[in-house]
Symmetry: C2
Subunit: 183 residues, 2 copies
């Protein structure tokens, strides 16, 4: 039970994952990552960077000494690369296979990249690769899939092997009000 509580026990939080990626990207582009660059890159204040670096250092993901440049440890760099790859795979899958708009695909991928397990990312890569491949079955599939219904047309409540008692399609259509909510 209580799987939901493991959210806070992931190797890295959403913020941390992005700090690591920013450091990796700056290192790759400019040869070094400084506090100010990271701050600009992520759109946060420099003091925020300093304090996050302290957390990352405690976790053994970066090395940073006062007024110096930031280096990723092996662990930090592995994590940054894995997260990056995870995002790439997710974005490809969402945009090219599911066919959702690019901006939605990118945003969703960014939100979940650090949360999906490597098993899932690996299988998603495999599926995406196969679906895009020249394999004759893949081509047929893409075509048939394109023609498949977008909604539960002939949906009979309690007799749909996907849905059960609440229609999944309908409940997913629920749109949150974009109304003002704070005084």
């Amino acid at each position: 039970m209580d799987i939901w509580k493991r959210f806070g026990e992931k190797e890295v939080s959403h913020s941390m994952a992005h700090y690591l990626q920013a450091v990796a990207a700056l290192k790759a582009d400019k040869g070094h990552a400084r506090v100010g660059d990271i701050a600009d890159n992520l759109g946060v204040s420099k003091s925020g960077v300093t304090s996050m670096l302290r957390s990352l250092e405690r976790r053994g993901l970066v090395r940073h000494e006062r007024y110096g440049c930031v280096e990723l440890t092996n662990e930090g760099s592995g994590l940054a690369t894995r997260t990056e790859s995870s995002r790439k795979v997710l974005t490809m899958f969402l945009a090219e296979i599911l066919g959702v708009p690019e901006d939605v695909a990118s945003e969703d991928a960014c939100m979940i990249e650090h949360l999906v397990s490597p098993e899932v990312s690996l299988e998603l890569l495999r599926l995406t690769t196969f679906m895009r491949s020249k394999h004759p079955v893949a081509a047929k599939f893409r075509e048939a899939y394109r023609a498949s219904p977008r909604s539960c047309a002939e949906h009979a409540p309690d007799d749909c092997d996907m849905c059960g008692s609440t229609c999944l399609h309908e409940s997913l259509m629920y749109q949150v009000e974009k109304a003002p909510q704070r005084a």
Copy 2:
């Protein structure tokens, strides 16, 4: 830029999504949701529930008066149902289509259910439905896919149309050390 910052601007946080689902589940099972039931259901303290209910009330997702039962507003209930449906779709897709182990599928679905956009969930439902269907192409696809390679066997760096310069497959294999990390 700064898509990553929108993480904190989702309609509901991970915790909130689970509180809403707990309230909905208790209401469905027992006819009412009380603070203690919610606390037991989620494995948190009663005071934690009280304070979360305050936040949810501010956002217009529940109604709760001192010492009374908790009710979902229409908005809260829509959100609870949508999140639940999103989890179902994700779990089905991960377990049945990707074929990852049940426990991994459930855990990943739980982590991301509130983060994937409805567009993505809807398309995922469509793909899952089609893949499981009796459509002849779907059956062929499942078979061919089962036989497709699990890794980038004939992968040539910089000449793989998925990977680019870092092999996605390899970087996703990176395993985080499960070493102790706090003093």
